[in-house]
């Protein structure tokens, strides 16, 4: 754990009466390495360590008899605060329209079903709209999941016009008196101009209240660019981190949040439609620091 790794660096702080720049620097070097090995973006790790240094050179730590422990606490608190800032709930309205976007294989289709299932417990009447017209059997996949959770699903296997499918799906959902409409979209690269154009057009047609980036928690350093480009294109309102039932440290979460400011709202914790939870920033902080 970070505490273990910082052990040596911090032991030097323990006997020391006063915290200095020098003994602080060694401890912070450990923090930076911990963050980088957790896949936190290079610049984000640097900025975070700098923010910790500023906080640690503050009065309480300087007066403390256990500066090492104080610093660990500052690190954990700073990280949890950064991760948890922003509105982590969904827009409180009915009807509610949610557009799911993200890279290939991140978990959008599965998460669409998970979200529908969870919100049913909160009294919503969901509908799922299949807007992935490219991936083989993507519509079958969403339809199968929808049947499993007993939610109506709009599909159109004859069209390749995604904005039109979205719009028609919305009308269909309204007719069915559904008040939570979740639009699943195809995986796409943030640099694919045509496909980014497609979700922009879809967004114009369905005017979603929420646009959620579904992101694999094990993403590497490019997570920042991915989040940034999707945010610039469709103005994200939230991030869903998936596959947290794995053992990825999840530094991408910090990177995406720190750079775009988009709040992390949910986490996927398994393959079943029940494996879904609201985001816990303190747990994520522990995980990233290892």
């Amino acid at each position: 754990s970070l505490t273990d790794r910082m052990g040596q660096a911090l032991r030097n702080l323990r006997g020391v009466g006063k915290l200095t720049e020098d003994n602080m620097a060694e401890a912070l070097k450990e923090v930076r390495t911990a963050l980088l090995s957790a896949d936190v973006h290079f610049k984000v790790a640097r900025q975070f360590v700098e923010d910790v240094r500023q906080a640690a050179m503050g009065q309480e730590v300087l007066k403390s008899v256990t500066p090492g422990q104080q610093i660990i606490k500052i690190i954990n608190d700073e990280l949890a605060k950064l991760l948890g800032e922003g509105t982590t709930g969904l827009a409180d309205k009915k009807p509610l329209r949610i557009m799911m976007v993200g890279l290939h294989g991140s978990g959008k289709t599965t998460t669409s079903a998970k979200l529908a299932k969870r919100l049913m417990k909160d009294g919503y009447k969901p509908a799922l709209i299949a807007c992935d017209v490219y991936r083989p059997a993507a519509i079958d996949q969403l339809e199968t999941l929808a049947k499993q959770i007993e939610v109506p699903c709009y599909t159109d296997r004859t069209s390749q016009d995604v904005p039109k499918i979205g719009r028609t799906g919305w009308d269909w959902a309204k007719e069915q008196e559904r008040n939570l409409i979740i639009f699943d979209t195809a995986g796409r690269l943030q640099i694919d101009e045509d496909l980014i154009g497609e979700i922009k057009k879809l967004k114009d047609k369905i005017v979603p209240d929420e646009v959620l980036l579904v992101a694999d928690s094990a993403l590497g350093q490019e997570a920042v660019n991915v989040a940034k480009h999707f945010h610039e294109a469709v103005n994200l309102t939230g991030i869903v981190l998936t596959k947290l039932d794995g053992d990825a440290r999840g530094g991408a979460a910090l990177s995406m949040k720190a750079i775009t400011g988009v709040p992390i709202k949910f986490m996927g914790t398994g393959e079943k439609t029940d494996d879904f939870d609201i985001f816990h920033p303190d747990r994520m902080a522990q995980r990233i620091l290892g």
């Binding site: 294989g105 350093q221 053992d247």
Partner: protein
Amino acid sequence: IFSGKKLDAASIDELEEALYGADFGVETATEIIDEIQAAYRKDKELRGQDAARIGARVLERVLEGAEAPEDWLGEADPAVICLIGVNGSGKTTTTAKLGWKFKEEGKGVVLGACDTFRAAANEQIKTWADRLDLRLVASHHNADSAAVAYDAWQAAKGDNAKVLILDTAGRLHTKGNLMEELKKIRRVLQKHDETAPHHAWLVVDGSLGSNSIEQARKFHEAFGLTGLIVTKLDGTSRGGALVGIYRELQLPIYFVGLGEAKEDLQPFSVKNYTNALFG
């Protein structure tokens, strides 16, 4: 950064950022930066392009032997290729791409749909098989994946097919019971050909970070890997985790995935990889 300009502290910092940005991870990024720093201490006239050359040299040294050997398919009939890996890495799509590649080479191919768990997994691979006119052996949802592997092997044998490609369900390496399921597939194959599977490849999503290394360790421990495929390198990620995997496990990287279409599969080339980074 890798230009004709002289290096300085700022540009070395930029270099370090680029190395981490490629997902090389602490060990490899540090090795390259240390070597560049050492060269810079000796020669203050060092330029960006010299630093690039050092980086490329280190990478080529670390990735020596990382390409697929010549004539790797082998003499077995059928040669059995098993694709495994975590959820969403690109196994099913890669199964289709590989099947198409071998068919284009005039070889008989059979695909085995051993993901009997995920919603519409059968429909997905069936759509590919129909599109590419490849023989597919599949069963019903929730069937025993090892039984499908067995049936697929029998079909390949009966067809006198040269290649059998088994697609498996995505699974996280942290799930013991799912790793056990993989071992069962291996045991069943070995009942019919004790040398099978001849190729066991981990399909790794190129956009992931250091966790890919842990994936490789655990899958190797549980199933025994003979190689890697790195997908989604058409994105902006550099797939640097493959360096960490190769450093530790010395498994050749057979192919890279460069898109969603059947042709988007290329043999891995160390030269191309280092040029893309340090070009």
